[in-house]
Each structure stands twice: as C-alpha cells, then as structure tokens.
Amino acid sequence: MTPLETQQRGLLAIIKNRPVDTTADVWLELIAASREAAMVSEIALWWRRFQIESQCRYTSRLLKRLGIYELEVKKYFESTATSPYIEKLTTGFLRALTTHADPLVASVAKFELACLEVNESVKRSRIVWDRNPETTIRALDQLTDLPPAEAGHFYSMELGMDIPGHVACSRFAHP
C-alpha cells in the first residue's frame, strides 16, 4: 500500500468507527482518538441524519419518539458503505430497518420504503401491522399519541400501482 492509500483507508475506518491499525502510519496514530477526528465523524453523521430525516418523515419521527434515531443512523452509517446519493441512502436505511426487532419500526420502515418505491415497482408490497396503520401514520404526522398494539388482531396492508388509491388495508384476527 502507498502512504496515501494507507492514510485514506485508515481514515475511513476511523470515521466509520471500525478497527484500524494505527501503527501503519504516524498520522493515523496522531488523529485516531483526536477531537478533530471525532468532529469529522460527527459532521458525517449529522449530514446523514439530516438527509434521512428529510426523506423518511415517519420512520425518523418514530425512531425519535423511541429515543433511538441517532443510534440507528450511527449503526447504519458505521456498518454500511453508505451512498452519497440521498435516494440510495434513505432507501438503504429503510431497508435495513425492515427487519428491526421492534415490529412497529419494521412496519413503518416497510411502509415508507413501499411509498418511495411504489412509482418504480410493478410489484405489490405487503406490510403487516400490529396496530391500526392509518391512526399510526396520522399520529406520526401530527405528533400525537401512537395507538396501542391490538392483541389478537393484525392489519395487512398492500401497496401497488394497480390498487385503487394505491393502498388497501384489512384487519384480521390472529388464527
């Protein structure tokens, strides 16, 4: 590796909070734990949060309510080769959240991802909710209380260009 490659790869690892061999270069050793490098990482994260918030209105609001927005963006930024393009960044972030341990986070992320992709996709998206999606989205939109999960029932929502109004939703009892 040339000195330039060593420094750039090392800096990438520092910014992304990944393991880095600081013995490979004195500059990396100098900056690794520096307040300046921490500031650079913070700026990178600040922009990612800003971009995601501007595109993922409902998911970011839900994550903020749960107090995990900054953490989730940080986890995604550090573990992923994030795109400089806002469209790719936000869809990638939402896709990563579709398997989130909290079923509501997963449902809202799936819903928002389906909304972003509905114009480009010929396929339908199906999203299962543990509570009324309409009142959930309205609550996120209007910053009011979220409805509770409905024990014994679930909602099945479908989004697609071929569906009248592009969305359909039904409530079912758990078998």
């Binding site: 040339t2 330039l4 790869r9 500059w27 300046e36 500031m39 650079v40 990178a44």
Partner: protein
C-alpha cells in the same frame, strides 16, 4: 503620460455569482436579476432513477430559463479527485450531461477526497501535501482539462484534521499544482478563516506565498461554530471580516473575475429568500467599490 505597466491598468470589477442547487423556481427568479453567473453543483441537481444518476430535467429547464442572460459555471462536490484508487465516474457522467446541455464558462472541484475504495466518507477531507498526492492530482487535472476543453479550477477545502507529514506548505502545494497543470484556483475566504481558527493558518503569509495569478473565482459564505470548530456549513450571511478578507484577495488577484456567494439548499429556510437577496445586494455593493 499613459503607463504601460499592466499593474497600473484599472482592474475590472468582479462579476457576482451564487449557488443554485435546485431550490424552488421562485427563489431562482428572485436571485437571477441580482447575479451574473449561476454556480451549479451537478451532484445537487441529480436524482437516481433505478441504478443510474441523471440531472433532473425540470431543473435543467429552470436553469435554461435564466441562462442566458446568466452565465453558468459548474462546481462539483462528488468527483473525489484525490481518492487513492479512482475518482467518481458517476460525477463525470453528470458533468457530461451538463456540458451537453449548456455552455459552461469553467468547471471546478474541491482539492479533496470524499470516497475511499468506493466507500463514501460522508464528508470532504483535504489532501496530504506530498509528492504522491501532487502527482495523482496533476494527472487527473490534466485528464479533466483534455476531456472538457474549458478551464478547470480547484478549490482548497478546510482542514479539520491536523496535517499529515507533508512536503509542501498550503500555498506551495497549490502553486505546484497550478504550475504543473495550468489549472485555475478558487479561493474561499471563509475556508481560510476556518483554517486560521481551527489550525492556526497564517492567512497573510499564505496569500504572500500563493501565486495569485491562477485565481479566477472567490467564494464567500458564512458558517457556524460547533464544539470550538469553525465549520464550512454555508448557512449564514457573510461576516464582515470574511468580506474584508475577500476584498483584500480581490485587490491582489489579477485574474479574479467572479465572486460567488455560497449557501446550502438546506439553509434556505433559515436565510430566507429576502435574506439571500439582501446578501447578494450587499456583496455586489462591496465588490463594486
């Protein structure tokens, strides 16, 4: 007796430019009568459709409505000219589209890297000032000059990180690039102030050492301070000391022809349309004196 000394010529006042990142048409139509140039960042007026980035047709139409009479310059953020492995070919495709649609006076990029081994850093990092970096930058600048056939300018970026071991001073590195390639420079008055605050840059010494002949464009902006760092987030009006420094650079740079007020699209709600127009009027007045 008329002096033959070029230094005695009356220098033309610089033209005024501002950033257009695709904000609403109402703002574009308000700023258009106040400036001579629009500075277009191709990355900021692009969108992804499928797996491919393209300039947004509706924004190209909007730009076409004001150019002419406005002249256009392109100012990239995503080329990553200093990445050790390769630059961003996607950015060049966007630039090709812009050149295919408009006649650009020149185009420019930051002397920095934003991508490492294909992975985006999420921010822009200044180059180490070494012979290795110099060779890489000069080779790429020459490729850009050949590809587009209009002047190419490089802009220095702020140094948030302490310098790596280097073989050149800040000015010496820029001098070496311009001497080897003939490319132009953009100076950014606010970036210099950030470097003075964050890294102790001696601005008068920098300007004394820098060959100012290649400086074609000057950026002015206002930013913010966070955790003791001055950050180049273009979100405020230009501070008086920044404007004073800009006027000093204008007076000393024989080929400087455009002053650009930069602001981020994201800062428009805070700056306000009136605030942006007032700022352009204020800068125009300052650089016209």
């Amino acid at each position: 007796m008329v002096s033959a000394d070029p230094q005695d010529k009356v220098k033309a006042r610089p033209a005024l430019a501002t950033t257009y990142e695709g904000a609403g048409l109402d703002l574009l139509h308000r700023i258009a009568p106040l400036v001579d140039y629009l500075e277009i960042p191709p990355d900021s007026i692009a969108r992804i459709s499928g797996s491919r980035e393209d300039l947004r047709p509706e924004l190209l139409e909007a730009i076409a409505c004001v150019a002419p009479p406005l002249k256009l310059i392109a100012h990239g953020v995503g080329l990553s000219i200093g990445s050790f492995d390769s630059w961003n070919e996607n950015y060049l495709r966007l630039l090709d589209q812009l050149f295919g649609r408009f006649s650009l006076e020149w185009h420019s990029e930051h002397l920095a890297y934003t991508t490492v081994a294909g992975e985006n850093l999420g921010t822009m990092i200044a180059m180490p000032r070494t012979d290795e970096a110099l060779d890489l930058i000069c080779e790429r600048v020459q490729r850009l000059q050949k590809r587009y056939g209009v002047p190419f300018l490089l802009e220095h970026v702020i140094h948030l990180l302490p310098d790596a071991r280097c073989q050149y001073t800040n000015a010496g590195f820029l001098n070496a690039i311009t001497a080897q390639t003939g490319c132009g420079l953009i100076l950014d008055a606010y970036n210099l102030e950030c470097d003075r605050h964050n890294q102790g840059l001696d601005i008068p010494a920098f300007l004394d050492e820098l060959n100012l002949e290649p400086v074609r464009e000057l950026h002015v902006a206002g930013g913010t301070t966070h955790n003791g760092f001055h950050l180049d987030i273009h979100s405020r009006p230009t501070a008086e000391p920044t404007l004073a420094l800009a006027l000093d650079i204008i007076a000393r740079s024989p080929s400087l022809s455009v002053v650009t007020y930069e602001f981020l699209k994201e800062a428009i709600p805070a700056l306000g349309h009136d605030g942006i127009c007032n700022e352009l009027t204020r800068i125009r007045k300052a650089i016209s004196q």
